[in-house]
Amino acid sequence: MSNQKPIADNLFTWPSDQPKLLGSRDTETGRYFFPAKRSNTHEQIELSTKGKLWTWTVQRFMPKTPYIGTDNPEDFEPYPVGYIELPGQIMVESRLVDVRAEDLKIGMEMELSIEPFVKNENGEELMIFSFKPSQDS
């Protein structure tokens, strides 16, 4: 695991057997935030790992910078993205994995999955959060 690291700090718990997204809750208003806000009125919260797909699309062309997935159009694979509604908390925008575009349906059950993304210049594998169809459903 030593050659894997999250793409950014304070995004999800890692390394972990049961990684969770890190959000925050405003103790005055009760509102949830992701990514977590640093403020003395916010408490850090581990967000729910399961939720429902609220909407989705597919990124079918290779994004320009600052995208670091690839800069070679021949290596680019379209990827689905969506918002996952984490009940009682917040909707999180995420890449979607282990699912074909034609099988995506609003309302389907999804769960968090931490996935390798690209290697950085030090050979470390950068890990990102994503959601995949729930194994239970």
Binding site: T57, R60, P66, I90, V92
Partner: protein, 381 residues
């Protein structure tokens, strides 16, 4: 306090103009507007203007003349043009000056905008992982809307087909070849459910407007138009906006709803009073949702309205009569002013083959953009 009139309008055709900077296109539009108002640059007492990617508007004075007037640069994302217009309106309304110019221009590189997360207050990973694309937002917003309100892909195609048909009658438009509904539906998917013909592209172009106190407008034109309402709003809690790593579960209204309400209230008018409208159509789903967000129909009614031709030039409420963003492209600084330009042309009865029949008297504009801002206007004869 005096009302505010629009007495001169100028445009540089939208699209791609090799060898001409965005600023030069702005100067072209400004000269056209001055000529339209039968006025000289020295008569203009102040100006507001801006671009998003083509430099500072005040550099125009090198070409227009060093008259020493206050020329304020405006930078407000997709509402840059709308903000210039609103600022010029307020300046005249306040009595500070009598005659001014609002100008917007732009020149963007080809392809989708590339966004800088940190400039939007976001973390780098958001762009690096491929989530920070305006196209994804548009796909996801209309995807949910279609699910909630029974809008079909066929309606998305009707909007795009109308845009190209209207543009084919507009010499200043960029994409002037009609495209059939089948071609639109079967074209390359960009961000589901939107195909490439349903999206506008960044482009080039410029628009300038000369405005003055209404009580002196007849000195310059026999057909002054009056800016009866203009309002700008940023996003309220719960709206679904571009570049949002997360959203509130409890959904709220978009900034468009607030800007539209404020504009109608200011004008003392109702939706039924509007004869034609230019609604932000960054892609065809946006035009559909904006029909409802601006209060011109209920959510879901668009499906029938579009199939009945309600928003065509000969329909009950013609929408985007000049081809909109879909056929004109979106030079960000100029786009909102293009809508006002088209309404002025229509209200003067000078729109040629795309003229809305029945002597339209009131026209509405609505611009929307990143990061959740909206500006609307109502112009009357």
């Amino acid at each position: 306090m005096s009302d505010v009139a629009i007495i001169g309008i100028g445009i540089h055709p939208f699209g791609r103009t090799e060898g001409m900077s965005g600023l030069q296109q702005g100067v072209h539009a400004a000269r056209e507007a001055l000529s339209d108002a039968e006025m000289e640059w020295k008569d203009v007492q102040f100006a507001f203007g801006g671009s998003s990617a083509a430099g500072n508007a005040d550099a125009m004075v090198n070409d227009l003349g060093l008259t020493g007037i206050p020329f304020m640069n405006v930078s407000n994302g997709c509402a840059t043009g709308g903000s210039s217009l609103l600022s010029a309106y307020t300046t005249i309304k306040s009595g500070q000056f009598d005659i001014g110019m609002a100008v917007g221009f732009d020149k963007h590189p080809r392809g989708a905008f590339n966004a800088d997360p940190e400039a939007s207050g976001l973390e780098k990973w958001y762009g690096e992982t491929g989530l920070m694309l305006t196209t994804q937002f548009f796909g996801m917003k209309i995807q949910r809307y279609m699910h909630d309100y029974g809008i079909t892909s066929d309606s998305l195609a009707i909007v795009a087909e109308k845009a190209f048909n209207n543009a084919s009658l507009n010499p200043n438009a960029w994409r002037r070849d009609p495209v059939s509904k089948d071609t639109i539906l079967n074209a390359t998917m960009v961000s589901d459910p939107l195909t490439k013909y349903m999206f506008c592209s960044p482009a080039e172009g410029a628009v300038a407007l000369i405005m003055c106190r209404a009580d002196i407008a007849h000195k310059y034109t026999s057909k002054p138009l009056f800016l009866k309402g203009a309002a700008f709003r940023s996003r309220p809690l719960g709206s679904f906006e571009v570049f949002s790593p997360s959203l509130e579960i409890e959904r709220g209204p978009s900034p468009t709803v607030g800007a539209s309400e404020a504009t109608f209230e200011m004008a003392g008018m109702n939706r039924e009073d509007i004869d034609l409208a230019q609604l932000q159509d960054t892609e065809s789903g946006a035009e559909i949702m904006h029909m409802a967000e601006n209060g011109f129909c209920k959510d879901g009614d668009q499906e029938k309205l579009l199939h009945d031709g309600h928003t065509m030039i000969n329909g009950k409420l013609p929408v985007n009569t000049d081809g909109g963003c879909i056929a004109n492209g979106e030079p960000v600084g100029a786009s909102g002013l293009r809508q006002v330009f088209e309404n002025c042309v229509q209200l003067r009865g000078a729109a040629g083959k795309r003229q809305v029949q029945g002597n339209p008297k009131t026209a509405y504009t609505h611009v929307y953009g990143a990061p959740g801002i909206s500006a609307c206007t109502i112009i009357t004869t």
